[in-house]
Amino acid sequence: MIVAGCDVGSLTAKAVILDENTILASQIIQDAPEPETSARQVMDLALKQAGISMDSIAYCVGTGYGRNQIPFADAVESEIFCHGKGAQWNDASIRMVIDIGGQDAKAIRLDAHANVIRYIYNDKCASGTGRFLDVMADALDIGIEEMGRVSQTSKSPVTISNQCVIFAETEIISLVNEGKPMPDIISGLHRALAHRVAALAKSIELEEHITFTGGVAKNPGMVASLEAALGRNLIKTGLDPQINGALGAALIAQKTIQGKS
């Protein structure tokens, strides 16, 4: 039985097509202005990759910021729940998910059955979300996907004293003008964001087995900084961390249809 999950976030849309225990297709696109369009586009790409048509999808669950605007979703589920499911499917030992998205950050604690015990999220303040790095990448005139690589040659990361995105932006412009090396600035930014998100996660108490999801988790500099800030090694599942929410949605779709039949 083939099912699908579709995660329409603030910046990107993701779709996963699942056949029993096999991921047939997974796609990520930049959002179109309308959530409906993003959902259709990403799902079309995933269907094409899987070589099937929409009729073959027995059930589809939508999630993410734009979940209520996905025209083809049979049901919707919160990202919190989906991230928990997705992470534990990858590695059953995972008890905590830290997800940094384009406009929010979440920490979710799970029991052994992927039930959510406690969670916390920040979407009130841009600092501590993916937007922090987006704004800084713009200010530094560097691609967001390059930041991880560039940061790796840093010898002495700078300290960013401002928490607020607006103030930190001014601060890094002065650091550039002072001639601080780019790797040290970027590494300092990773540390600053990691510190904020770690504080959020610690407020609900850390678990032993933690994984890091969302687009920001693809940045190796952020992974290293978050590990340092948490004082824990993160579990790397080998799967693209950005599709975790859509995968969880697909798993919920699967469970729903199994329950119905």
Binding site: A126, Q163, I166
Partner: protein, 263 residues
């Protein structure tokens, strides 16, 4: 006796030349990258306006963010003290001073003698500071002083900004612009959002009448009007430029210090 006060802020620098109780001259300039340079320039301009030579200044007090870098001062005093001093001299019954600067916001509570009882500062988050308005004005394609003009004759159905965060509010403003909303209505929403943040800070310090506002943002009548509505009080207007209140307070303290040392 001629004294001076010099207030080097993050965005603007101010200098006031005082002869006993009379302001001989003052000047406000945009701050330069180096506080020393800002201080020298604004001081020179204020002296020129006052038609006074530097040697005639008996005592000078510095204040503001860059106060420790001002080369020609005898003493540096915190902005809190200077704003309190300046505001109380102008309005003797004032008990709460709301000072909104380029990158911070302070609520200061004074007792009858003008002594500071309590104060709260926000300099961690751009929301509720002059920077918020600056960012928003830029989005609307006007200068920071242009927001007031935009709100004249605005709609009956007010727009709102749901996010306090400057970054998220920016996205909301862009959304409103793309949806074809008028700049006036958006400016009104910006002023209200700004006032809402400041009102929280004032609430935390404990509102006591009379209330006045100092700093550059006090010139934005839209923010003042929304703040009055939110706080439920009338904000007393100052007899002169609210932006120079810190420098004015510094000059008053200079006079006091000089008198104290020479009596």
């Amino acid at each position: 006796m001629i004294v001076a006060g010099c207030d080097i802020g993050s965005l603007t620098s101010k200098a006031v030349i005082l002869n006993n109780k009379n302001v001989l001259g003052y000047c406000v300039i945009r701050s330069k990258s180096k506080p020393e340079e800002s201080a020298r320039e604004v001081f020179k301009l204020a002296l020129k306006k006052a038609a006074v030579h530097e040697e005639q200044i008996m005592y000078c007090v510095g204040t503001g963010y860059g106060r420790n870098k001002i080369p020609f001062i005898q003493e540096a005093v915190s902005e809190i003290t200077c704003h309190g001093k300046g505001a109380q001299w102008v309005l003797p019954r004032v008990r709460t001073v709301i000072d909104i600067g380029g990158q911070d916001c302070k609520a200061i509570k004074l007792d009858k003698e003008g002594t500071i009882q309590k104060f709260i500062t926000n300099d961690k988050c751009a929301a509720g500071t002059g920077r918020f308005l600056e960012v928003m004005a830029k989005l609307l394609g006007v200068g920071i002083n242009g927001l007031v003009g935009l709100t004249v004759g605005t709609n009956q159905e007010p727009l709102t900004l749901s996010s306090a965060c400057t970054v998220w509010a920016q996205a909301e403003v862009i959304h409103h612009l793309n949806a074809g909303k008028s700049k006036g209505d958006i400016a009104e929403a910006i002023n209200r959002a700004m006032a809402a943040r400041v009102a929280i800070l004032v609430g935390n310090v404990g509102l006591e009448k009379d209330v006045c506002m100092t700093g550059g943002v006090a010139k934005n009548t839209g923010v003042v009007r929304h703040l009055e509505k939110l706080l439920g009080v009338k904000i007393k207007r100052l007899k002169f430029d609210p932006q120079i209140m810190g420098a004015f307070g510094a000059a008053l303290i200079a006079k006091q210090m000089f008198t104290g040392k020479n009596s």
